[in-house]
Symmetry: C2
Subunit: 138 residues, 2 copies
């Protein structure tokens, strides 16, 4: 749904961004330690205004302990358009079993059976998204 | 090609990583300004030991000027496995027309016609990759 045919890329509002996040299960989490960026592919669920990430990667957890600021990216495409949503926010590892259990129970979609690991919750401070028509394949 | 059935995720060597990078055109670039991570979806070409990124996003170029350290992520999947490659390195914007022209000429695959913008070259300092079998869909 492009709002302006003159501008091929259209900004998405917050509701549109959340709808896309809710329908997606894989994203990339960018972190920074001592101003050195790192990036991880993660499984996630968007629910209740938060992003819940599951990761087996201890390295990511260590880096988030040093600096909890994150940028989280999800993108996808239909036959006619491509979209991207970026969430900036603060991450914290869920520590207590009750929190982890609650997060698992609340997940509207089940996690994949094979993936193991810890849970990290991102509290968003800013969400932006864009959609653009896909260029004809040459 | 999994080397160890006991460990479902197998590390990829540098040649395997470059082969996957060469066969892919879209990746995510993580940057950091004042220890605050940011992330961009970009079109790229891997060639001659470098990653050449094209971006219309002035914000990314500004951030790279402040801090040239980057983490670059590409992932994909076949019917039986999923893979990820992460490149750490230093980025610089190509400034001269001769450099830009040379980069465009060298590209083994054409850039998409619609995408406009500047070119950024990443000189890798570390490349890692992993491949894992895909879990059965439940």
């Amino acid at each position: 749904m492009l709002s302006d045919a003159q501008d091929p890329a259209a900004n998405l509002n917050a509701d549109e961004c959340w709808e896309l996040l809710t329908g997606t299960a894989e994203g990339r989490l960018a972190v920074s330690v001592h101003n050195e960026p790192d990036i991880f592919l993660v499984e996630f669920r968007a629910q209740d205004g938060k992003i819940l990430v599951r990761t087996p990667q201890g390295e990511m957890l260590v880096e988030l302990t040093i600096n909890p600021l994150v940028a989280f990216e999800v993108n996808g495409r239909s036959e006619t358009s491509a979209w991207i949503v970026v969430v900036k926010g603060t991450a914290r590892e869920l520590q207590s079993w009750s929190e982890i259990d609650a997060a698992q129970q609340k997940a509207q979609r089940p996690w994949t059976a094979t993936a193991k690991g810890s849970y990290v919750e991102i509290a968003p401070t800013r969400i932006t998204g864009r959609r653009r028509p896909i260029a004809p394949q040459t």
